[in-house]
């Protein structure tokens, strides 16, 4: 019995590598296993080299692993590049008609193209035969393979089913199983990417308008919500540029619709003036920032955590704002919903900070829509005398939307008086500035009753790992591999920084190790700024690839030596 499996599917762009990896993941997920899939693809449409790393286990699976026990190669490059990642008793599965390989005892050669010819299928369908072989190698049920293929290919399913069967039977006749995976009995759970979870979380908190301009790795939110707009009662718009995106969304919010936008670092940079305007005008908005390798155009289809300080400091001027950085798909769902609620409760911009690794990797996810709701906001009672920026004790002025009889709702990006008219007087400027900042105290108090950090590992360990965002997955997997005891503090809210939670954990330990995917230790620096605590053991990675758990475990060992 196998406790877990790691495999890699590789080939050229356009050969269906990612969908093959995804289908294998879906099949494993159907068997009650937990699945994590990382897609590695380049910014091109055809050619190049793509691969999917799939990890599956009966236990919670937080990350892909570089080391794999099976490589499924659709082209030669996959073997040339990845053979070194194979475990000692690993195997290599390849299309005998396109790839040459003769690793003794490892080679599993299959005539995929010939199988396709036999049923007069298209070349891309060989992937289904390959899926059939993989199913046999790990002792998976062909009925579950068929169920997934039928769901995905619909009217094109019959040929794919026939090929899966051919692959399965060929493997049965010619190969030994790698092993059977230990299964668990559980209710079906969805296999979701971070971006899908972000989209669904927002919908459950009342999202009505989604506006975006394509930029990897945020584009899949746009595609997903546009594809589901009728089912989810949404309006989805793709305007001329990111400035139009955020301004339109603010217009929609002003008119009463919960709205959201997303981009990556470059597009987010273009939105700065409007983020500041959201703060000044007190028009709520959620902005999702999916980080990719930077600076500048950077590395479009790869990951990074190097926008943290930029995002925390987004927008010119002083105004209350929240930044939440989910660490996995489940948090992506719940925390995006929370982001929308906070934005509307406090009439502020809230930024959801993700990255390629979270946004585009798939993970078996437990979410319950009943655990999310649209939280109450302070609405005006209507009628005359309405003041959009009425001075209140908590700094929150009651909301009203245009169309409310007798209420005149004047919103202003210029400093304004409580009625919304432009002003320059120093005393009134102070009053209005202080009114807006009073909301910050409210937000910090509100966050004390929400989950702002998560603690994992051994409570009384001497060694504390601190991290944020998607690096969480590799840290949790690395902790499974490490012999020493560790406690792990994962910070979910970079702003307001949950000092009240974080400080509890910093001084009781011998070593504090920070883990993040950037080259300057931005999180460690933020921690210093917020708590005064100096982290002296930093583990950084900035090759635009996420941490591999084994490599991370080794690096943690090394910094402790």
């Amino acid at each position: 019995m196998l406790d877990e499996v790691s495999l890699l599917v590789g080939g050229k762009a356009g050969e269906g590598v990612r969908s093959t990896g995804y289908i294998i993941g879906r099949i494993l997920n159907r068997h009650g296993l937990n699945v994590f899939i990382r897609d590695d693809y380049q910014s091109l449409i055809q050619g190049g080299h793509n691969f999917s790393q799939i990890r599956s286990s009966s236990k919670e699976t937080w990350s892909h692993y570089e080391k794999v026990d099976l490589i499924a190669a659709l082209d030669q490059k996959t073997i040339d590049l990845h053979e070194k990642e194979l475990v000692s008793n690993g195997r290599v599965l390849f299309d005998s008609e396109e790839v040459k390989y003769c690793g003794s005892g490892k080679a599993l050669s299959i005539p995929l193209l010939k199988m396709v010819e036999e049923i007069k299928g298209l070349k891309i369908m060989r992937n289904s035969a390959l899926i059939g072989v993989v199913a046999y190698l790990y002792g998976l049920d062909l009925t579950k393979v068929n169920a997934v293929l039928t769901k995905i290919y619909r009217e094109k399913a019959p040929k794919n089913l026939a090929l899966a069967k051919k692959g399965y039977e060929y493997a049965e006749k010619n190969f030994d199983r790698i092993g059977e995976i230990k299964r668990i009995d559980r209710l079906p759970k969805p296999l979701l990417t971070g971006n899908q979870a972000i989209a669904l979380g927002a919908v459950k908190a009342g999202l009505k308008v989604y506006i975006a301009y394509p930029m990897t790795p945020s584009t899949s939110i746009l595609h997903y919500l546009a594809g589901h707009q009728d089912k989810l009662g949404l309006t989805v718009v793709q305007p001329e540029n990111e400035i139009a995106v955020i301004i339109m969304a603010l217009g929609a919010s002003y008119a009463g619709a919960r709205s959201m936008v997303a981009s990556s670092g470059g597009g987010f940079a273009l939105m700065q003036e409007a983020i500041s305007m959201s703060g000044m005008t007190e028009v709520p908005l959620v902005i999702v920032e999916c980080q990719r390798g930077g600076p500048s155009t950077g590395v479009a289809t790869y990951t990074s955590q190097a926008d943290l300080k930029f995002v925390v400091n987004a927008g010119h001027g002083d105004f209350p704002k929240v930044v939440v950085a989910p660490g996995d798909t489940e948090e992506a769902f719940y925390k995006t919903a929370e982001a929308l609620n906070l934005a509307w409760k406090y009439q502020i911009p809230v930024i959801v900070l993700s990255d390629k690794h979270l946004s585009e990797s798939y993970k078996t996810t437990s979410i319950d829509e009943n655990n999310v709701s649209k939280e109450e906001v302070k609405m005006a009672n209507g009628g005359g005398g309405y003041k959009r920026y009425e001075l209140t004790e908590d700094g929150i002025s009651p909301l009203a939307f245009p169309g409310t009889p007798e209420a005149v709702i004047k919103v202003n990006s210029y400093e304004h008086n409580p009625s919304g008219y432009a002003i320059d007087e120093p005393e009134l400027i102070n009053k209005m500035q202080e009114k807006r900042l009073r909301k910050y105290a409210q937000i910090a108090a509100d966050l004390r009753s929400r989950e702002t950090v998560k603690i994992y590992g051994e409570k009384d360990a001497d060694n504390l790992i601190v991290s944020w965002g998607s690096a969480k997955g590799a840290v949790l997997e690395a902790m499974k591999l490490l012999k020493r005891k560790f406690k792990f503090l994962h910070v979910i809210y970079p702003k307001p920084f949950p000092v009240w939670e974080v400080e509890k954990h910093l001084d009781k330990v011998k070593n504090v190790i920070s883990v993040e995917c950037n080259s300057t230790g931005q999180f460690a620096s933020l921690l210093r700024e917020e708590t005064g605590f100096l982290v002296n053991k930093k583990i950084l990675k900035y090759d635009s690839r996420p941490f591999d758990p084994e490599d991370l475990a080794n690096r943690i060992e090394r910094v402790l030596e």
Binding site: K208, V209, G233, P239, A244, A252, A255, S259, V411, A422
Partner: protein, 281 residues
């Protein structure tokens, strides 16, 4: 019923500024649009960019959004998408609309979203004390270009015609009666409507006399407002300056195609997502 459209805000435009004429025309148009049942007071939203022109939002007692420099079209488009029952009217300077935010203007015309854009075209960045804009003439001398403007001016009517606008007009800020009727027509138009208002800036570019001598009413001379080519040619005239509606056609609007049912988005229920989650199992 006479609407209370005045506000307590002090008027800070220069004496003789063309913006006063636009203000008067807009207030009259709003009164008449409400009187005729075209819309209700509470369903009107105005927005402005940044410049001298933007003070107009403080001078009219209706819902308003004073947005960033150049960003008027997207702010009112967002409102319209969220609540198609609103009548949204944007005011922008020439710097605002044709310099900083030109992409938004072009795209709003292209998508034929049902918004109205009124441009206070004084051929100058007035509030920043007089620099050349997209519509400043060749040779126009400013502190930023003491040797005179070396760029040819943009023709806003041509720009809007090629962008696909379905209502393209020009007004004059001191012909209040004519401007009032243009604004009413623009707001009533089902689709993107645009009025370039020739607005003398008393302080940095006083064209009052120049314009008074040359202006004539385009629509009194048998101009066919459905004829694109004729509109284009009339917009080329330089010796005499036509004001009125150059072009007006009907085309499906953006929101008619985008929105199902004309209800405000916030009134829609939160759907269950279970049927979508099912797709991922």
């Amino acid at each position: 019923m006479k609407l209370e459209l005045d506000t307590p805000a002090e008027k800070t435009w220069c004496r003789g500024c063309g913006d006063f004429g636009i203000l008067t025309a807009v207030k009259r148009a709003i009164q008449e649009l409400v009187d005729s049942g075209e819309t209700r007071h509470e369903n009107i939203v105005i927005a402005s960019g940044i410049g001298c022109h933007n003070k107009i939002v403080d001078y009219i007692n209706v819902n308003s959004f004073d947005v960033l420099h150049g960003r008027v079209p997207p702010i009112i488009s967002g409102m319209k998408i969220a609540n198609p029952n609103l009548k949204v009217i944007g005011f922008a300077g020439d710097g605002d609309a044709y310099n900083e935010g030109i992409s938004h203007l072009v795209y709003s015309a292209k998508r034929n979203i049902d918004i109205t854009m009124i441009i206070h075209d004084n051929e100058v960045f007035a509030l920043t004390t007089g620099q050349a804009t997209a519509t400043s003439s060749l040779g126009f001398s400013t502190k930023a270009m003491p040797k005179g403007n070396i760029e040819v001016p943009l023709n806003p009517i041509h720009l809007m015609l090629t962008s696909g606008a379905t209502f393209v007009a020009r007004g004059f800020s001191f012909d209040i009666k004519h401007l009032t009727s243009l604004i009413k027509e623009a707001v009533k138009h089902h689709g993107f409507s645009f009025i370039d208002v020739l607005q003398p800036c008393k302080t940095y570019h006083d064209t009052t006399q120049f314009l008074r001598e040359r202006i004539y009413y385009l629509n009194e001379k048998g101009h066919d407002t459905k004829d694109f080519r004729a509109a284009w040619e009339r917009a080329d005239e330089k010796e005499r300056i036509p004001i009125g509606i150059f072009y007006k056609i009907e085309r499906k609007t953006f929101e008619d195609q985008l929105l199902k049912g004309k209800i405000p988005a916030y009134e829609k229920e939160i759907p269950s997502i279970n049927h979508v989650i099912e797709e991922h199992i």
